[in-house]
Structures are given as structure tokens and as C-alpha cells.
């Protein structure tokens, strides 16, 4: 049946199989042609990579550049009022996810020491405290409550604020603006305004760290003369955005997925030792950060196809993580599966910097939530849960939940 699937025009995004599985067209494409041509909304003929092996290979190969300033990286989103790009975008200081070595290496190495496995383990008790306090507050409310607002968003926001030295009192600023920034087809003015507000806020913050450093990551970075204020602002933007939006979506969408799989949930409640594997499986199954862009700096062979120099190449981590060639029955949530090897944190030099922090937050978060709320349930029909198909990071906009009793 190979090569019989038509070349897609634009990226299929409708979750027509289930809220958790890839769009059907993506699944068909992965079977027929895991490295496939893709016509972009502006007419560019680029590529879409959906097969596990090909995605892994691509992400390990820096000839697939992460830079936006070598050539035009064509967008999949239609931003109203935004003309199709005719020039590459300039590099933004500090945004090392859009850099290649050696620039990427220089910035990333300044941060990795703060996110080691050992450092994150030292934080574990403290993260558990934060989770428990948030659950105390939630338990005082009268259900139904929105789990996103009362739990999933506050926990990682509190943690990253403390780590970076961002006042939690300012959360409204960065939570709202981050959310606006992640809208797929935003109003251009609104997006620029959100970005402007974030960078203005963060530039002031990092200057205050310069003047009076404290005990936090941004202060440590501010002590480094090798980093400019602009770079520091860019780094702060990345860490703050990635530090709260991702884990928040995992906690909320993960809870939704567990509630929709009651037998799995019961097994997890019965055996907390299952938690580390369960977290890896939820990471794989949900793949909330799905779509990533690369730019082919030369002609490159991948999965039997030749990707031409100058092509925009898009990978779907969700598709790769649901590839039956790598994971048996990939569309089944199986908490007993050894899902390590999933690509949810990426692969290659841009692999998620905060992954060890995210693991600890998720273990603490799910463990606490399930223990304290043994009767947790959805407060609305599952098909009325608003999914974030309109956002660049997947999840749920709200998750109304209720319970009959909360444990101490």
C-alpha cells in the first residue's frame, strides 16, 4: 500500500481518532510514507517526518538546522495579517532552541549544571511540599473545580518561579502572555504584544538580578559577564515558558487520560511503584509538544527519500511515539510498558533541558493528586472537555473535576 497516500497540503491537526491519538491522516501517512513531502500553506514544498526511526535520526543530525536565520523556515500556521516570509528571521539573543553549535553549545552549557539529575533529586522533597500545599488548597474548595487552574498550572509555575527567582505574585503576567504566545493562529498584534510584554517584564527582572543577585538560577546567570542582558532575557523567556506550560499540560491532560482509562488508573492507585513507568508512558502516549521545525542545510537522505537543501522539515513527535514499529499497540495507554526511548523530550542536542525536573514534578503531582483524591472524577462528559488543538502545546483548556471525599 506504499505511496498511495496523497501528499498532504498543510498539517492535519484534527483529533479525529481520539483526544489522545494522532490525527488519522497522520497515522495513515506514517504507515505509507514515514518521510513524506508536505505542501505548506504558502506553497513551499517541504517535508513531514512521522516514523520513529526517521524522526530520531533527523533530530540527531545537525545538518537539519534549528536556526531560523539561514534560510526561510516556512510556517504551518496561517497567521491572519502575516505576509508569507520572504526573508529568514534574525536570530533572537538567548533563544538557544533556535541555534546550532557552537552558539547553542555556549548557552546551553551555562544552564545544564542547574538541571542535573542530582540537583533535581535534591529538590524532590521541596517539590512534594509544593504539591501538597496546592492539594490542601484544592481540598478546601467545593467541587466541581477546574483542575488546570487549581492544580496543574500552579504547581509547575510555583516550582519554576522559585528556581529562576521570578516572583510568583507576577504569575498573571507570564501565564497569560505565555498562553497568548502559544496560540497557533493568533492575532498578530496580540502575539507581538504578548511577546513584548514578556520580554519587557523579564528584561527588568534580569536587570534587578544584576543589581542585587539572590539565590536562584537567573541571579547565577546574571553574575556571568559573558552573557548580555538581551541574552539573559531570551534565556529567561525560554526557561519560564518551557518550565510551566509543558508540565502543566502534562498534569492536566495526563489526569484526563487516566480518568478515561479507569482500569489503568486503578492499577496505578494500587501500586505506586508503577509511577515512574506510568509517567514515561504518559509522556509517550500524550506527546504534548508535538511539532518541531528544522531547516535542511544540504541535500540529505532520510528514510529512502532525498530532502533537498533549503527545505523546511517538520517532525511529529506524537506520530513517532505512536509508531507500531517501535511500540506495540502504540495507541493503547499501557502504564506497565517500558516506554523509555520515547521522543517526548526530543532527541539530539536540543533534548529538553528540564526533563529531569519535569519527571520529578509529574511523579510528585500524580502521586499526590491520586492519593488525596481517591474519588476524583470528571465533572462534565469527556467529549465536552476543551482540547488545546488550537495551541502549540497540546493539553486541555479546562478540566472540571469533582470528588466525594478528600483524604488528608
Amino acid at each position: 500500500m506504499s505511496q498511495t497516500v496523497p501528499i498532504p497540503h498543510g498539517l492535519p491537526t484534527e483529533r479525529d481518532a481520539s483526544p489522545f491519538d494522532p490525527p488519522r491522516e497522520i497515522t495513515r501517512l506514517r504507515e505509507a510514507r514515514p518521510v513524506s513531502p508536505l505542501v505548506f500553506p504558502d506553497g513551499h514544498e517541504g517535508w513531514l517526518v512521522t516514523g520513529y526511526d526517521a524522526v530520531r535520526q533527523l533530530m540527531a543530525d545537525t545538518r537539519f538546522s534549528s536556526r531560523q536565520d539561514i534560510g526561510i523556515v516556512h510556517a504551518l500556521d496561517n497567521i491572519p495579517g502575516m505576509p508569507a516570509a520572504t526573508e529568514p528571521s534574525p536570530q533572537i539573543p538567548g533563544l538557544f532552541i533556535a541555534m546550532d553549535p557552537p552558539d547553542h553549545t555556549r548557552l546551553r552549557r551555562k544552564l545544564t549544571g542547574a538541571f542535573t539529575v542530582r540537583r533535581m533529586r535534591q529538590l524532590e522533597e521541596h517539590i512534594i511540599d509544593i504539591v501538597e500545599r496546592q492539594l490542601d488548597e484544592m481540598a478546601r474548595l467545593t467541587p466541581p473545580v477546574d483542575l488546570v487552574k487549581e492544580f496543574a498550572l500552579p504547581v509547575p509555575s510555583l516550582v519554576i518561579c522559585e528556581l529562576l527567582g521570578v516572583p510568583y505574585a507576577d504569575r498573571a503576567t507570564f501565564q497569560d502572555n505565555s498562553a497568548k504566545f502559544l496560540v497557533k493562529n493568533p492575532d498578530l498584534d496580540e502575539k507581538m504584544a504578548a511577546y513584548g510584554a514578556m520580554t519587557t517584564y523579564l528584561a527588568e527582572l534580569v536587570m534587578s538580578k544584576h543589581a542585587a543577585p539572590g539565590e536562584d538560577i537567573l541571579s547565577d546567570l546574571a553574575r556571568d559577564d559573558d552573557l548580555s542582558i538581551e541574552e539573559l532575557t531570551g534565556v529567561a523567556f525560554l526557561l519560564l515558558l518551557a518550565g510551566h506550560e509543558t508540565t502543566a499540560n502534562m498534569l492536566a491532560l495526563g489526569t484526563f487520560a487516566l480518568l478515561e482509562h479507569p482500569e489503568q488508573l486503578a492499577e496505578l492507585r494500587a501500586d505506586p511503584d508503577l509511577l515512574p513507568d506510568a509517567v514515561e508512558e504518559l509522556l509517550r502516549y500524550l506527546s504534548i509538544a508535538d511539532i518541531f521545525y528544522r531547516y535542511a542545510t544540504e541535500d540529505i537522505e532520510l528514510g529512502g527519500e532525498t530532502i533537498g537543501k533549503g527545505s523546511t522539515v517538520v517532525v511529529s513527535l506524537l506520530a513517532a511515539n505512536h509508531d507500531p514499529k517501535r511500540f506495540d499497540h502504540p495507541d493503547t495507554l499501557d502504564l506497565h510498558r517500558k516506554a523509555r526511548g520515547h521522543l517526548s523530550f526530543g532527541h539530539g542536542i536540543h533534548t529538553c533541558l528540564g526533563q529531569q525536573l519535569a519527571r520529578i514534578e509529574m511523579r510528585a503531582g500524580f502521586e499526590g493528586l491520586l492519593r488525596r483524591f481517591p474519588t476524583l472524577q470528571l465533572a462534565i462528559p469527556a467529549d465536552e472537555v476543551k482540547l488545546k488543538t488550537d495551541m502549540n502545546i497540546y493539553g486541555v483548556h479546562e478540566l472540571p473535576v469533582s470528588w466525594t471525599e478528600a483524604a488528608r
Binding site: A60, T105, R108, R109, K110, L111, T112, G113, A114, F115, T116, V117, R118, M120, R340, G341, F345, G346, H347, G348, I349, T351, Q355, Q356
Partner: protein
């Protein structure tokens, strides 16, 4: 058997220290891999898992050396 780590490739992901904490640690300052036991007497399967898990392909097992 020996493990070798290419510290230039390493991006400090910590996967090795996560899956094989007896064999790998990370530098306090820049998070890069530190080999705790380059000479591999036991724990071969953990070492293989780490090689596999390393996103930067910075780890290798050399079976010909001891």
C-alpha cells in the same frame, strides 16, 4: 570492557545518570557526564541502556579493551 564518554558531544541531559547512577554522574557546574567507573566489571546491561538513552550519542562501550 570500558566505557568512554565524549565530553564535547555531551549536552548534560542526565539520561546516563538517571538510568545507570552507579556508572555515571554529572559535573556540578556544567552538567556534563562524569564516568564513575570507566572500567566495566558489571552492570553491562545498565551501561548499554545508558548508551542507548544518551540523546547526544556521547557514550560508547569498547568491548575490546579492559
Amino acid at each position: 570492557m570500558r566505557i568512554s564518554a565524549d565530553r564535547e558531544r555531551c549536552i548534560g541531559s542526565g539520561m546516563c545518570a538517571l538510568v545507570a547512577p552507579d556508572l555515571f554522574d554529572q559535573d556540578e557546574n556544567d552538567g556534563r557526564v562524569r564516568l564513575l567507573a570507566p572500567k566495566l566489571h558489571s552492570g553491562l546491561s545498565a551501561a548499554r541502556e545508558a548508551v542507548d538513552a544518551c540523546p547526544a550519542m556521547a557514550l560508547e562501550i569498547d568491548e575490546s579493551r579492559d
